[in-house]
Amino acid sequence: MKSVRIAGGLGFYGDSWQPIKASIERGNVQYVASAHLAKLTLAILQKDRQRDPNLGYTRDLAPMLLDLLPIAIPRGVKFVLNAGGLNPMAAREILLGTLKKFGMKLKVGVVLGDSVLERLDELQEVGVSLAHMDTGADITTVRDRLLFASAYLGARPLVEALDAGADIVLTGRVADAALFLAPMMHELGWRWDDWDKLAQGIVVGHLLECSGQATGGNFGGDWRSIPNLAHIGYPIAEVWENGDAVISKAPGTGGRVNFDTLREQLLYEVHDPRHYMTPDVDVDMTTLRMEEIGLDEVRVTGAKGRPAPEMLKIVAGYEDGVMGQAMLGYAWPDALAKAQLAAEIIQQQMIEVGLKTEEIVIEYIGYDSIHGPLADPTHAKDLNEVYLRIAVRCTDKKEAAKIGRLFPPLALSGPPFIGGAGGMIEPRSLLGIWPTLAPRTVIEEYIRVSVEES
């Protein structure tokens, strides 16, 4: 029976591509599918593009491919990447230029049409409300602050690029799992209404889209049992014509692929596991079977699919204020009490200097900064050290920067025994997320696919 072997690439912009080398050299893969875009990423890319219209893609694209192509080309390994971000055409230009410079002759496909920021009026004219998907709120409240709006596309245009001979497919926003479904559709001859096979394909993509999280990274179980995380292998899937799949990783790499590491990834960022909604299929994960068939080998079968939804998800991002923050550490004895006194001093001074904030978060790092009100107070009395962190939400950068200037005087004029006064932390722009829905027909009519040789 025919099959295809696909390697999981990055899990986000900034992730390491070193583990992909092992998948290419020793994992016998035909494709690498790589997910570069988190929601925050699009905001970063939008700022890049505002500064320079030739930016707006993830700039790890060229260095990553320059590092991987010398081992990928001799093996015929192809790439599917959403590194195009908000500007897939600019990504293609930079990539074609780089390939030419190094004498590599490859076909680069590009998928356009996910970005709908310029088309929002048109969408509203044809009756799309753009109301917030979870709260029902009206988009007019954020409309003038929008930085991007991207629809999650499915695998079809990616398959079109592969069918046209692309060695590298660049996209903007698509469902992450669609990056993986595309090579399966291209290789295995599935139909777009083979719902159960599509469901299997999406489950496999979902398992692979977060790099090391499928192979023992961020593992909530017995994390000590995961070997050699320093050289973790990223996940590899082999998927057969009938939809059955085996998840593994390259021989000699660290990490672990077993029932426990994979089931954690299966439900990661999932809401209703009976209806995992993607542009290509509505997936039921509860019929799935996962069985360990060898060391670092898990067979995945039995996902069920229902017809693809009529509506596609759009995620827009809008400017939502600025965060200012500052930190200072206090030593035993009574570290927490000292940090608490420092917090009181700062709060009084915030009022006196008239610092205008919409929200204040006070955290004691080493005590409650991660679990908040759920932190266990029985440990509070005798901590070795505690860092006070105060974060404020302000309307502008200038206001947010004021919090940092209140901290240094605490060194000589506050409670005793400080450390870790690491200087000012730059205020950071905050981004509100606006998820909404639109009929797929009005999105898909703008999808364009092209392939060009370097």
Binding site: K39, D260, L267, L288, G321, L374
Partner: protein
């Protein structure tokens, strides 16, 4: 007898906008049945008072011995606008494991 969930199960959390999910995994069928009985939507909502502002939903995935909790209003407006250190809610999973249940 009471036991803390950390002794019985493992968990992973993820974020989507201002909604977090926490999947709770049992090692065997008997423990899964116990979790289904004890770790109710209402108990989880109470457990996360002060962090989660909206409703809590629970989904069952018995094929992988897991309960999936969906926590609305869990992330200070969402990771990219949150002021919290754990903006992504990656540690909400371990916070759930603090819960004590009757075994």
């Amino acid at each position: 007898m009471k036991k803390q969930l950390v002794e019985l199960a493992h968990a992973r959390s993820g974020d989507k906008g201002d909604i977090a999910n926490i999947a709770l995994f049992a090692p065997d069928q008997a423990t899964y049945d116990l979790l289904v009985r004890e770790v109710t939507t209402e108990r989880v909502r109470t457990h996360f008072a002060g962090i989660v502002t909206g409703k809590v939903e629970r989904y069952e995935a018995p094929n992988v011995l897991a309960l999936n909790f969906v926590l609305h209003g869990a992330l200070n407006g969402g990771a990219s606008r949150s002021l919290r250190s754990d903006a992504l809610g990656k540690s909400l999973s371990s916070a759930l494991l603090r819960m004590e249940i009757e075994v």
